[in-house]
């Protein structure tokens, strides 16, 4: 009685808590999970004794919690690859104590492997196979059966008519296990392994690597070649083989238990046929290995392993895995990175910085949101204030020096990272070290970079701050003060045709005139485009737009909110003025003219105007590529607006598609229900028939909406690509007829921006490949431009 009342009053307020009675098994399961996940952490005892203790505890719990333990171990195999050898040792110890459990675990892992492959979770599948291969070292799995599994994987390279990325991935999986298990497999089955090797070698020789240039962060080979990932891994494994599989970096706790483990009975892996290729399979994209440091960059302390050493591969793999596991919790992530086992033998700070920048600059897109990397680096600086900031400064300096050959998308990310980073450290930087950028063509990457960094830094602070932080010599690179430029500012503008109207409109707005009144005023504005009176015909009058918008935005210039409010209040008028495409284009032109010193404001206004349907996405694209904006074409804000516009279009399509799916689901459920309940009552039947009818109508409407949205989306990409082709062709023709070098800074920027559109929106663009190839990227196109398209196609061959 009293207990019930108590729980009633609980539900009113705070969260209901677990009832004591049923929580015990849950508590034990949580405890098991915690013990397993945290084994070896924060302990005064050695890892080995912790593992021994845990094995004992788990063995004792097997009778009651076997399934739970199996599931937890399968999960850590899949989700904690950086602690691979810790858990394989644990499984080894359990297998030695309980052979059946070892067998059940192997079976569970195979089931999990099949599941992950079915669900396109290829990265996790690699971790599972690596785990299985390390179990050979722990005497859980017999070496010959592992070799047999590898042979089955490599046989995929013999398949015909499959995408290259499929066979790539199976080869990668096998090669990436060899640092852990190569020695053992070679000792037991050297002939088979040699045969495997020559098969792999043959495959790699025949691979098409057209995609590689598109994924390289730098176009230059020096100082560090940006290698295609499989090429690099193959070189590393070959070197390991030449060194007779001597590898000293990987932490192998099982060595300490060798006497126990070699007494254990091994299991054979069941024969595993790789699942066949499915058309909807999404294999991982090919990669290029990012390298920015070598042993010469870390002159003091431990030596950095070479680019083709297997140690380098293992370290980078593990650091990537740590970030993958802990990216949401920056303090934990930083701590885990800095406590990497074996850190005393390597220049860990350099590896960490290289791996983080590698992810940040990864093409097509970083694995995680950009801002995570900024905050992670700040956290690392906090934890290692005596050493990491220096490495980071060194890295920044190196990145600056190599800007000339850096991919434009990567430069964008560097600009955003550096400005945000500086804003957390009072913008302190040795700008004088970069004074070389002041003496070259300002369109070159270095001065452009500094200019954009200062512009972004200003957005996070204010104009005078920028003047204060850079030497006087940098004055030309400081951005303009972000002030509104009002055409009809004062008496000196009185000769302009729109001046009188601007005064009238301005007063009308200030006196809270109605939309009708304002429209009436605007009707009187002369049209510079036509001679005769034309009351009825709503022909395009650019001056009307100019006068109204300049005046309105001037009155609302105080803040973003003021401007948004203005756009909202006069939405009706703006819609009327932009009914036609010319109107839409002109409104964008005016926004640029008044706010050209405040690109951030331009971006937010354009965003608002798209969202409130004053302009559409295609109009924005046409405006950015127009002659009026040609002089701004290489500025970062232009591309941020373009990509933001494409993203909005994509989200819009997705939203309507989702609505359609939901309506279809609803209809299905309704029909299902009607079949079950049919015959009960005539009324109910009729009601549900009506409902179904309504749903069917809704679905039809949504279907039309989806088609219309997709058509708009396709059109947007067509407009963008068409404009690129026109601009690039013009440039190429001009250079060829004039016998001039085509590779100007403008050209490099433009062609890489084209690449960027493909890379950033590849998922959406894949849908329209047919149209693109038929209409735009035909064989008649200049080979320089066509090459970009072909490289893009090669990404998912």
């Amino acid at each position: 009685m009293s207990r019930r009342r108590h729980s009633d009053s609980e539900n009113e307020g705070s969260q209901p808590h677990k009832r004591r009675r049923t929580s015990e098994p849950i508590e034990i399961e949580d405890r098991l999970e915690s013990l397993i996940c945290r084994v070896g952490e924060k302990s005064t005892s050695s890892l080995e004794s912790n593992l021994e203790g845990l094995a004992g505890v788990l063995e004792a719990d097997l009778p009651n919690y076997k399934n739970k333990i199996l599931r937890i171990l399968c999960s850590v195999a899949r989700l904690l690859p950086e602690k691979l050898t810790v858990y394989t040792t644990l499984v080894g110890l359990l297998n030695a104590r309980n052979y059946n459990f070892g067998g059940e675990f192997v079976e569970a892992m195979i089931r999990q492997l099949k599941e992950t492959l079915k669900n396109n979770l290829y990265n996790e599948a690699v971790y599972l196979v690596r785990f299985l291969s390390d179990l050979v070292n722990c005497h859980v799995i017999a070496a010959p059966s592992m070799v047999a599994m590898f042979e089955n994987f490599i046989s995929v390279t013999q398949e015909e008519d499959v995408p290259q990325v499929r066979s790539d991935w199976f080869v990668y999986m096998v090669l990436s296990c060899l640092p852990w298990v190569g020695k053992e497999l070679y000792e037991k089955k050297d002939a088979e392994m040699d045969r495997l090797f020559s098969q792999i070698e043959g495959y790699l020789k025949g691979r098409v690597k057209a995609h590689a240039p598109m994924l390289q962060v730098w176009t230059a080979e020096k100082p560090h070649p940006q290698e295609e990932y499989l090429d690099c891994l193959w070189a590393q494994i070959q070197k390991l083989k030449k060194d007779r599989w001597q590898e000293r970096h990987i932490l192998r706790p099982y060595i300490a238990f060798d006497s126990v483990l070699c007494e254990a009975l091994q299991h054979n892996l069941p024969p595993f046929t790789p699942p066949g290729h499915m058309p909807d399979a999404q294999y991982p994209m090919p990669r290029v290995v990012f390298r920015m440091f070598d042993y010469t960059d870390a002159p003091e302390g431990p030596v950095m392993p070479g680019s083709h050493s297997v140690e380098r591969f293992v370290i980078e793999e593990n650091l990537h895995c740590i970030i993958q596991t802990h990216w949401k919790e920056r303090k934990t992530c930083a701590a885990q990175l800095l406590s990497y086992p074996g850190k005393n033998k390597i220049p860990l700070n350099y590896h960490i910085v290289e791996v983080i920048f590698g992810e940040l600059f990864q093409l097509p897109t970083p694995p995680h949101i950009d801002v995570m990397y900024t905050t992670l680096l700040i956290e690392l600086c906090k934890l290692q204030p005596g050493s990491l900031p220096q490495v980071l400064a060194q890295a920044t300096e190196m990145l600056y020096m190599r800007l000339d050959t850096m991919n434009t998308s990567c430069i964008d990310r560097l600009i955003n990272w550096f400005s945000h980073h500086l804003s957390n450290f009072q913008f302190r930087w040795s700008w004088d070290d970069w004074s070389d950028c002041l003496t070259v063509d300002p369109e070159k990457p270095k001065p452009k970079f500094v200019k954009e960094v200062l512009e972004k830094s200003m957005r996070l602070s204010y104009h005078q701050r920028m003047v204060d932080i850079v030497p006087a010599t940098f004055a030309a690179l400081i951005p303009a003060e972000p002030n509104f430029i009002y055409k009809y500012e004062d008496e000196s503008a009185s000769s302009l045709p729109g001046y009188p109207a601007s005064i009238t409109v301005g007063n009308a707005i200030k006196n809270r005139a109605t939309n009708e009144e304002i429209l009436a005023i605007l009707k009187e504005v002369p049209n510079p485009n036509q001679e005769d009176d034309d009351d009825e015909g709503e022909s395009f009058n650019p001056l009307k737009i100019d006068v109204f918008l300049q005046t309105l935005l001037h009155l609302a210039a105080k803040s973003f909110s003021h401007s948004f409010s203005a756009l909202g209040k006069f939405h009706e008028i703006l819609k009327a003025l932009t009914e036609r495409d010319e109107g839409k284009l002109h409104i964008l032109k005016v926004v640029y003219e008044v706010w050209r010193n405040h690109p951030q404001m331009i971006a937010v206004l354009v965003d608002k105007m798209i969202r409130t349907q004053i302009v559409d996405c295609a109009a924005v694209a046409n405006w950015l590529f127009s002659q009026d904006m040609a002089h701004e074409f290489t500025r970062l804000f232009v591309w941020e607006i373009l990509h933001s516009t494409i993203r909005k279009m994509n989200k819009h399509v997705q939203k309507i598609q989702q609505e359609l799916e939901e309506a279809k689901d609803k209809l299905e459920k309704q029909q299902h229900k009607r079949q079950k309940d049919s015959g009960d009552e005539e009324d109910m039947d009729k009601n549900s028939e009506d409902e179904e009818g309504q749903l069917e109508e809704q679905i039809e409407r949504l279907q039309e909406k989806v088609e219309s949205a997709q058509s708009e989306q396709k059109n947007l990409f067509l407009v963008i690509f068409q404009r690129f082709i026109m601009l690039l062709t013009e440039h190429l023709v001009r250079c060829e007829t004039g016998s001039v070098e085509i590779s100007t800074p403008w050209y490099k920027n433009c062609i890489e921006r084209l690449q960027q559109v493909f890379l950033m929106h590849h998922v959406t663009i894949q849908q329209y490949m047919g149209t693109l190839e038929n209409l735009l990227f035909t064989a008649e196109l200049d080979p320089h431009i066509l090459a970009v398209y072909q490289q893009f196609c090669a990404l998912q061959l």
Partner: protein, 182 residues
Amino acid sequence: MSVKLNALVSDSYVDVSQYRDQHFKGNRYDQEKLLKQSHTLYVGNLSFYSTEDQVHEIFSKSGDVKRIVIGLDKVKKTACGFCFVEYYTRTGAENAMRFINGTRLDDRIIRTDWDAGFKEGRQYGRGKSGGQVRDEYRQDYDPARGGYVVCDFHTCSWSTCCSPTYSVIAFIISMDRFCIHS
């Protein structure tokens, strides 16, 4: 097959804090629910001089920002050091909690927290003098937040407050104490 490991799904930066808006209209259960679904963040410890532009720039790094409402002194109608940031998606707000909370804007470490949703009236400070309550009790000199706290003990109105030596409660009780100004 395998389980989602609780130890690994920790996302503590996204957790709700202990603070609850005492003026919230509704019961605790509703408030919790709204906080867990919210797209809106409260942002605190801003400089009085931080602008909407700056707030927009930094918070856009975690997602598209739908709206910013700058907190105002109820009397002076000027910025008083806080704001609300509303995202179009929950993910945008979550990433702000993970990666922007606890970093600097205008050289100050800013703090973000989940908010149940902006309602008209909530853009005003609730301190007696018009600014934020926390500025009533601040004892340090903060030039970006109005300098020292000043109290007029005749009218017992505070524009920020108070003496370094005595607690606020003690001061109210013993109104003949004199407050140190700056």
